[in-house]
Point group: D2
Chain length 375, copies 4
């Protein structure tokens, strides 16, 4: 059996592929770190052939809790991705059993979002009368860190920052941005029109294009987990964070969202900043209004399941949303979407996916506007 990975975010190690029903694979770690969980590969010429693929090292993955109840995604045309029912976690190993309907089939940890699509997204934004693309800096590999700026700065417009995909394997974060941007740049949508009046939005669709293109799960090309670099970013290790932080200092920040995916929890949730030292005393209340408005706009969102406030311990201020809350005293949130399905509103056919992430991005305009109006 021929297996390839020579494309954007391709990642797998093939131990043995002699028999289609006994394919042995290994998750490949990030290029300069030991995290592994992301996979993306193509199996060739297997129409009608029962495949059995065993991932030998899934127990060593970054998030072993990610495997129970998880189903891999697959696609024949790279547009429609579906969950593979014959995915199971057994004796500490992920197993995918599937009989493809067409010659070539792609399997991935989650619906991919390529660097080419990323650049197309920027190109579309560039053509909108409401947006321009501003490049904030360069990555370790020399790619650009791009920011879609919606609205010219003015006293009436509060600075809102939205960043996504610090962890490159969390592609749902960029799908989310695609949905948010499509609505934000819609000339007929009243929430978008009001938001464009009240805010100047700085949106970074992909904080980590190197890691994304390389097929990393959590780190950039230098092996840095960018979401632990916000206290002391450096040119050598985390230029992506450094350049964003620098521009944020120039524009200020009235509201901050950092968009993520969570490997383990099958829910959409928000991790807030009420525990961050120095945030205004009304932060918890303001946060509660935001969460309530999001829950109104999107039944995919909930507030019962989430992280405990002490989850990040001493690292706390190295995280983007905590650091921003601390630095700017503004509402600053981390949004998490599932790699698995959303148990609140499950869909066995596709699980949580790109389309659903886009709907959530579009819905996000509502709590943002509510927060700006009430502030």
């Amino acid at each position: 059996v021929h297996i390839s990975q020579g494309f954007d975010s391709g990642s797998i190690e093939v131990l043995s592929a002699e028999a289609p029903d006994a394919i042995r694979l290994r998750l490949r770690p990030d290029n300069a770190a030991s995290f592994c969980q992301w996979f993306h590969f193509r199996v060739h010429d297997v129409a009608g052939v029962p495949l059995r693929m065993v991932f030998e090292n899934t127990a060593d993955a970054a998030y072993p809790d990610g495997w129970p109840d998880y189903h891999a995604v697959a696609s024949y045309d790279r547009r429609e991705w579906f969950r593979v029912p014959g995915t199971r976690f057994e004796d500490g190993r992920l197993i995918i059993e599937h009989t493809p309907e067409h010659s070539s089939v792609y399997y991935a940890y989650f619906e991919p979002y390529s660097h080419e699509r990323h650049l197309d997204l920027l190109g579309q934004a560039e053509m909108s009368p409401y947006a321009r693309v501003h490049t904030l800096g360069a990555t370790v590999d020399g790619r650009s860190v791009d920011c879609v700026v919606v609205g010219a700065p003015s006293p009436e417009r509060k600075p809102v920052w939205i960043i996504a995909r610090q962890h490159p394997g969390e592609t749902m974060a960029e799908w989310f941005v695609e949905g948010l941007l499509a609505r934000l740049l819609d000339s007929a949508d009243p929430l978008a029109r009001r938001l464009r009046e009240r805010a100047c939005l700085y949106i970074v669709p992909n904080m980590n294009p190197d890691g994304a293109s390389r097929g990393n799960l959590r780190t950039n090309a230098a092996g840095a987990n960018l979401n632990r670099e916000w206290m002391t970013p450096t040119v050598a290790r985390s230029p992506e964070v450094l350049c964003v932080r620098k521009h944020m200092e120039a524009t200020g920040c009235a509201l901050f969202l950092d968009i993520h995916g969570d490997e383990s929890l099958p829910y959409v949730f928000i991790d807030g900043s009420e525990m961050v030292p120095g945030v205004p005393h009304n932060m918890a209340a303001r946060q509660a209004v935001f969460l309530s408005a999001l829950a109104e706009a999107s039944p995919d969102f909930q507030t019962e399941v989430g992280y405990t406030p002490d989850r990040f311990g001493e690292e706390m201020l190295t995280l983007a949303s905590k650091w921003v809350a601390h630095r700017f005293g503004c509402l600053s949130l981390t949004l998490e979407m599932p790699f698995k399905d959303n148990h609140l509103l499950p869909d066995a056919r596709v699980g949580w996916n790109g389309e659903r992430s886009k709907r959530l991005g579009a819905a996000m305009l509502q709590p943002i506007l509510r927060d700006l109006l009430s502030d």
Copy 2:
């Protein structure tokens, strides 16, 4: 100058069209009633020619208040409609001054919605796994009164009825339904998914297809204003209302929306049923929650400007939403959108239009779900 109207909803009387800068027109009344306000016609072979068109009888229109601050819509390709800045109301006459950029140009009172598009809308709904089209009866001219049914009836699903375009010239009502249906049948949208769980929706995109196709403003082919027929509809005069009422009796009704356009007020607003005899005592509160949820979902909506509660006087129970409130004791609302622009969020280029009506229709899912969940 050649002027034609031989197409769906075409309507104009040409008094004189010898000189392009002195075209004299009259609004044509409904086919069996004296209401006039709707117009829709095409002017031929006038690229680069300054046109001046005077409507001689605008003072006799159904809503003379509709003309101040009104701008006609125009299109070259029947897809993009724009407002004509050179529209004015002067000495009791509407005047349109415009120099077309292409040979043929269409002018209309509002962005049209044809019977062919109506049938295409039904056809698309038919193909959705979530909907089927059920025909409730026949119109005076023999067209069908169609209902898109979303969801199979069950104890968990409350019956929600949405009807539109009782007044056929109010095309924004069907654009609204198009937007609402597109979202309601979206497999990825969480509001739609929850709504499909909680409600069985009966949606009549066009209550008055005869009047619509004939280019009437307010009445059906028999001259009846359908929104005054709900107490005593008859086969001869208002079969459209009769068949809908009959099916509503069979399904029950937990929530009712009647979608309209208002010629005079440049706002989106809702006329409620708190004044209807016999409605439950908590109706005003329930209504207030609904309105508040809609305002959250759509900044195009507001609650300050609207009709006074005594507007309809003794006729009150002949109106759809009042009759339904009286009969079923449910939340029952009339939504009004402007023919002019929305002064709350104006857009000089297009004014209120089809696209904005669609966005409002999509936003409406949110208050509907809120009401169902809180009931």
Copy 3:
């Protein structure tokens, strides 16, 4: 069973529809003539119901030879039309047996092409930098006779006239024009570019919009068969021909195509003008080159089956292509496409249809250019 026809080109007479398996219908004749063959109607609320529809008067149709080997077309969404295998001609009556998969289903003699789509086609042409819409006159009912003019007249550009749908039920003729226009207005297509250099094209997508909208087979609103009116068209009876002939006199004509459908012959073929008195002696040769070029460009076309040269007898010069050949001495052809399938290249699923007619229209650019270059 509820059956409706209140839409563009709707046409049927219902004798009895009490039992779905015993529906009795009659073809409805043209509004002012006795021709009947076209039908187009919708059956409501019949998902999963076995239908048996008998047309009682098919033996009296304009072309009884049209029924053997014929299969009706059907659609649920008015976009995808398929042939109904359970169509048969038995004891002089057409019978359609079909069990619909969705609630509403449309049946027609051939894939319809509505007046609204006709106007959209003109609107799209209007927006092209290469075309403008010129209105030549008005129909009996007051609709416009529109001509898409491609190219400004100049000595280097020969006048080419293409007319379609003199017989309104021959909708394939307008599908053909849609395909031809799409290619002709393509900025990247080299055949189109050369043709726009060498010719000024006058294209009348629908000669008979009244008959089309009314659901007639062969005649206009006054009952005239327009393709027998070219010798002596009159304002009262055939204004559509009169206005086209008048403009043709003004522009001249170097090549003429008249696009039709044939009820009986299951082939695409061309009827030429070699037999017309007074045509240049080299006409047969020029015609043969044209036919050969079309056969190269489209394997759907053939030259073995067609009309005999004496088919039209004394009426000959009343036909468009013969009259034009006689008057202008130019290459002048009638193209015929089948209502049935094309036996040369059959497709049981869809038969001959709109898409295939469009491909043929696109292919037609090649023989036209060949003729212009060789002349």
Copy 4:
């Protein structure tokens, strides 16, 4: 000025970019060979800024004749590419002067075709009922060499092979294949239908995906010019040719096309195999019929300008089309499209481009079918 190239086929060396009007660049050679000519890069944050970019080493390019009369292509959104009028070749250096209208702008030697788009093309083919994707082997970098197979092998179907993009910078070759495949898989097109009956087509959209993704002009990742490897391909140096040749031996070959771009000649032309030792004596005549049929189908094609028969000298049999002619005795042709414009039918706005290459690919069905039918 910030310049980036971190994307598919990105390639440039920046000597100095301090002043926007004095940017100094160098063409970057292929990764393992000295050929240089391809460039593709993005300039950031330069809306309204006059740029002057000088390529210092254009005289050392693989084809110095490629620069006179050449205009670079540019795009803001990566979808619409236009020629930059301010491109000139002066004192042996290529200079681009341009003032971008948007923040970010891409410049390239020709409209790019990315590896992601390549995989999408395969994915679409995979979903067609008429095609399947068969992987022939692996490249030096481990990407797959994919073949779209149209038609099941049978005695009635002759084997036709079409390969493209041996030279990876010749992206027009893959645009050509995209146009050819779109038509070939069209269910309504009669040329496609006949061809699917008469031929089994083996289409390799990209022979050199490594070089393409790396931004090479002429060679694969090992530095081999694949079109000089057909006599003695090796696993180490030219596995791409080796695997294709092997499958060609298995299927046989009745007609072969190799699709290319030419840097110097501003014409579309074909280089034949009449000079190849051992080809059948009637080859020149068969070839002439093919060329004539292509000229009929596409006025972009011509036969006056092209290569001289002795161009390749002793290397001749190392070229794909010559080797195939020699080995299989079949019609075997190299198609060349211009990097510049087509002087036969110039378009100053876009020059030769992807769309025009697609039209040529679609037109190619006609001579292929002609050849198969006449053989």
